[in-house]
Amino acid sequence: MNESTPIALPSLVDRGGPAQPLLIIDRLRKHFAVRGSKAVVRAVDGVSFTVAKGETLGIVGESGCGKSTTARLIARLMPADAGEMVFDGDGVGQFGGMALKDYRRNLQMVFQDSLASLNPRLTALDAIAYGPQVHGLGKAAALSRAAELLVRVGLAPNQFGSRYPHELSGGQRQRVNIARALAFEPRLLILDEAVAALDKSVQAQVLNLLQALKAERGLTYLFISHDLHVVHYLADRVLVMYLGLVVEVGPVERLYAQPRHPYTRALLSAVPSMDPARRTERSPLSGDPPNLINPPSGCRFRDRCAHAHAACAAAAPVLRETAPGHWAACHLDDPSSGHPEAPARAAMAFTA
């Protein structure tokens, strides 16, 4: 299945070389109007990051932090209010840049709800072959490619190819979704809670499949999840979002071992202990995430933070590099912020 089939679609080539990020997101913003009032929901409020070629970037955060909205903005499933996207050196949807149709072929998405994201009237084979046909591939070629992809994701085409979504189990449907995404030979795959709805034993199978496909096809993943174990296993870098903002980003091992932002620390310690002799005795955070309509002034985490100080209400912290590649947006990491605990922490960071 490694020999590529002759296709009518122009193949998607690497242009900028390995050093150029595959995707640059710059100050992406999306506010939703609240019906019947002037209030806005600041779902994504100035998010910037880059995704390097061949890496897996994990995005974590509580519900309502803007991680799925970010994914939808990147996939252009909805227009952003502001912000820019550069895909392998080309501005997306800009004058002289990359056309949206080409962009969408470079990028595919797999969603959490495997049933809702498949057309109930298309069989597995037809669902996979549909997109390439829209993009100009002949029907016979598209179907034969779909059959190959079904084999690759572990479903025998003669057994499963003619089945409709409701005739497949959750794990099988998610395999079909992955095959459908791969039908374009995309370079970037956005996985939005793609394994969250699966049972544990099936989840492990799909994660193994994703890892194998990535290595085989040189894919880049944007992996959005609320499951910190899965992100730790899969991601190379992790980005932590809170109320529409990036609060911390860094290499996975460093971020899990030495989280800088108090929110990241709380998130990591909210994971069940898995040891009946040492059960969790205290919850690291109280309450639910606050409302996106009226986020707190200054640092948005301050009303749930154990280190909150007047300085946190006065100004919003910006992302600062605390170690190579490890950025956090917290006044504790900024000696000039006026936070009384900051100077001691900053000194610690340099020795570490």
Binding site: G171, H232, L267, D275, R282, L285
Partner: protein, 331 residues
């Protein structure tokens, strides 16, 4: 154990219709008072069906139920009319996975607790409202007085689940059935709800059956874990015992397939295949097709659940207490 609070004997549930699905087969277990039992398993294993059967929530025209359920001296299968109404909510109460759907959207949260209290205990409105307020405070809902007059959609997910727990516990049930109460919540809120349930259980001394697919959550709250597969209990043990030494290949595989950092860069251990179709269960062990230790005997004959003290096991080829799980075959 003296007379247990709950005793289930040979419970079988069949859903009839176009196809007949054997949801539960010959389920037997007991629960002492003040004990927390977790039913652990994947979707379709029968854990939610068990809870619904305990409350007699299955529609009689589409379900065939056999077996015995006794709660606190009552024969649950024989309850009718007022007795059944008193049993549901008064003796046994349930917390659902989706509190957004379980609450009635057109009544305030407070009103629903008030109604439950008045129906079950016959108290007057003012007393019921006072008790409802106390319940909301007890489950640590901030600004409880204000939330009493809130509708379910005005509360956040975590708060809604707290309100659901308040409603379930309002009439002081002896047994709380919790059906994946934390699955729909964020990790930071999930741990708060788990801690709250543990605290309330200690305080009231009630028994709890906690249904989950998340081993981590089960370990946080349960004294004992029963692992279910294809409508049967395949292994049961104390939480510590099961985690330290799972004996059924399925339990071992489930524990091993929990993703952790230690697996980074490696292929995850998985259980191959998928759970069987409940409308066409094999004659032998339902797990045999996915099990590396299976032989023709497993395929042909169903292993019985054998009890040995606190532990129980249904397997022809159990893993040794110290052995490595045989189910760890790469996908």
């Amino acid at each position: 154990m003296t007379t247990p609070l709950l005793s289930v004997r040979g419970l079988s549930v069949q859903f009839v219709g176009e196809r007949t699905a054997q949801a539960l087969t010959d389920l037997s277990f007991e629960l002492g008072s003040g004990e927390v039992l977790a039913l652990l398993g994947e979707s379709g294993c029968g854990k939610s069906v068990t809870l619904r059967a305990l409350l007699r929530l299955h529609a009689p025209n589409r379900t065939r139920i056999s077996g015995h359920i006794h709660v606190d001296g009552r024969d649950v299968m024989a309850l009718e009319g007022r007795e059944l109404q008193h049993y549901r909510g008064g003796i046994v109460a349930m917390v659902f996975q989706e509190p957004g759907l379980a609450f009635d959207p057109v009544y305030t949260v407070g009103e629903q607790i008030v109604q439950a209290l008045r129906a079950h205990e016959g108290v007057d409105r003012a007393t019921a409202r006072q008790r409802a307020l106390q319940m909301l405070e007890r489950v640590q809902i901030p600004q409880a007085r204000r939330r009493l007059d809130a509708y379910a959609h005005e509360l956040s997910g975590g708060m809604r689940q707290r309100a659901m727990i308040a409603l379930a516990l309002a009439c002081k049930p002896k047994l709380l059935l919790a059906d994946e109460p934390t699955t729909a919540l964020d990790a930071t809120v999930q741990i708060q709800i788990l801690l709250l349930l543990r605290e309330l259980q200690r305080e009231t001394g009630m028994s709890v059956i906690f249904v989950t697919h998340d081993i981590g959550a089960a370990i946080e709250v349960a004294d004992r874990i029963a692992v279910m597969y294809a409508g049967r209990i395949v292994e049961e043990n104390s939480t510590a015992g099961l985690v330290a030494a799972p004996r059924h290949p399925y339990s071992a595989g489930l524990l091993a397939s929990t993703v952790s950092a230690a697996h980074r860069g490696q292929v995850l251990p998985t259980i191959r295949g998928a759970p069987p179709d409940l409308s066409a269960l094999p004659p032998g062990c339902a797990f045999a097709a996915r099990c590396d230790a299976s032989d023709p005997h497993c395929v042909a004959t169903q292993p019985a659940l054998r009890r040995d003290g606190a532990a129980a096991l249904a397997c022809w080829h159990p893993l040794h207490a110290t052995g490595t799980p045989d189910a760890e075959a790469p996908a």
